[in-house]
Symmetry: none
Subunit: 206 residues, 4 copies
């Protein structure tokens, strides 16, 4: 990478980081491009060399941050070194994500308000350049690697993730209808049931 290129990368990173802290601190619509540029230490016009508009940078961030979240959870799983069943693995990942979001409420707000399944799936399945760990494989593995063949694993993961993300928003931020700690046992049992019922033997008749 030439000096110029690394300089450009630095500018772009600075814009992304600044935008993220402003978006989480005060919301997307109350953050102006002027704010982002000046806090990032670049001229207003420079912003437009890297991003089309505010929504361009927001989408890039949502994608980036939600992938990070998932990667961190998968990394924890791998690092734990424990021998687990498929269901245990899923619960482990869910638990890790919930804890991350509980620790980082502004990230939760940002992601919840702006994430959609399309963005997320795209982020997870698009391999990053220069990435030594192949995350695409891990995700694929999550879906493929089950003790018995699982029926429609993508639907199952989709439902788990949607249930996860929508319930934790209210529980973590407002303790409504109950706190995260109170919610967890019900949530996990529900997830266990969901997985169990997706084993091929249980394929529902339509």
């Amino acid at each position: 990478m030439t000096k110029l290129d690394s300089n450009k990368k630095k500018k772009e990173d600075s814009l992304l980081n600044t935008a993220f802290s402003l978006f989480t601190a005060q919301g997307v619509s109350k953050t102006s491009i002027s704010d982002i540029a000046s806090k990032a230490g670049v001229a207003k016009g420079t912003f437009y060399l890297y991003f089309k508009d505010k929504y361009d940078i927001r989408n890039r961030l949502v994608s980036h941050k939600s992938t990070q979240l998932f990667r961190a959870a998968l990394e924890s799983l791998r690092a734990s070194g424990r021998k687990m069943s498929y269901t245990e693995k899923i619960i482990f990942v869910v638990d890790d994500i919930l804890d991350q979001l509980n620790e980082n409420k502004s990230l939760l707000t940002f992601i919840s308000k702006n994430l959609s399944w399309g963005i997320f799936k795209n982020a997870l399945t698009t391999p990053l350049k220069n990435d030594d760990i192949d995350f695409k494989d891990i995700y694929t593995e999550m879906i493929a690697d089950a003790p018995y063949e699982i029926d429609q694993p993508e639907i199952m993961i989709f439902m788990i993730l949607e249930l996860l993300s929508s319930t934790c928003y209210s529980a973590i931020l407002y303790n409504e209808p109950v706190t995260l700690a109170e919610l967890k046992p019900y949530l996990y049992r529900c997830i266990e049931n969901m997985i169990e019922s997706h084993y091929i033997k249980d394929k529902p008749s339509v």
Copy 2:
């Protein structure tokens, strides 16, 4: 109601209806108060006689529209006259709501982007003035009326509704990861499992 009062009501309704169509057509942030007022046929200043600002009218709308949705479903249930089990009733309501949203995608977009559990619960449990059907009771009944005592019925309803609203958004609007029709059997089986596991006998050990 005097003529003046009915005139006022007409203005307010006109503002609400206009705001709803603009919000669904072009989004909340791209709709200005000017737009709403002029399309509603009143002066800009008049808007401020009825609503504090754009977010005031938006919240009123979210609350109103989501209640309507739920009421219509419960009304269908009541009108069906069928004898059903508790689980069947829940599934009936969920199915009715999904069909309503599938028919009215702009309503779905609007509610999904702006609804929160707090607003919804508040809307459901606040009795409307001049309301001939006692709605609050129906909701309470949904929670209370179970063949056996149900553990934490509010958590259960909360999880069902969150799962419902977040999965249907992606399925109805983008057919992602599958179409609504394909999703339904999995979703309903999941809901059945959730209800079953909330019977007191199943109370999870925390």
Copy 3:
């Protein structure tokens, strides 16, 4: 006219007058809407209540100023009270317009750069509201009132005006190729010839 209306008229006039002096002093493209508004003593947003953009106010001005020029010349003609032939009347009007432009070089610059036959004709033939003198009649009369029937009077007036406006620009502003005084005799003789050749007897065979 209510107080409010007269106030609005005052604002609009102030904007028009300010725009005109800025346009003539520094050109249209170097004049900003901010300039116009602040010099006119109104807020920037107020400009947009009266005009769509810079080109809207420019067109209104071109039309207004060129009409004024023509009207003043016709008024002089009427005021002179002299008995003149048709040709003498035309020359009188042309001479008066040239003198006005010679006295007001910034007006000449502004009009020359922005006037088109379409705008001019439209301005001349659209009667102003509240206008005690009916100018449309005078213009029509200029075209219709000839000792003999004139062939294609509109083409003739068109050619005279175009010759007039394009030659005087260079002569008045740059004395190129000669001064206005030097140009006049040639110009007037040319105009006399143009009129004479438009008498029906001289209708050209195509």
Copy 4:
């Protein structure tokens, strides 16, 4: 010419051609230097190696294009090989120019909005380098070569050209007040009169 030189020439030509098409397509003020450079396939900075700014390239173009127009007309005249009177020659040239402009309306727009007598005269009387036809002589000849001595030939040519350029704009582009075909006979008769009245015998008394 070295390969480097020809490369430079190519860049400059590319910039000139690109600028011309953009100026005629969307107007000078709506064309940015960025546009010109990127469409011409060179970097923005390169533009400044060849031209001072947008108005520099515009003036170079006006001058170049209007000379080309006149040269083409004179070339046709020379090529026709016909024996003509002085007046016939002028009419020939005028007719040829009108036809060229009628064929190339964007050129007409560009020249009309940007041509001034000063630029034109300068262009006509500045001999081009490497020019095999001695163009200056032809123009001088147009002025000098008359059967009888002509009074103030430059004023005459000036008036003819101004009449020509201003009337044709409206007639060709908008058919206002009449079409070019309808205008021509009147225009030519007018020009004939102008020439005739410039014979010394007709010198006007000031």
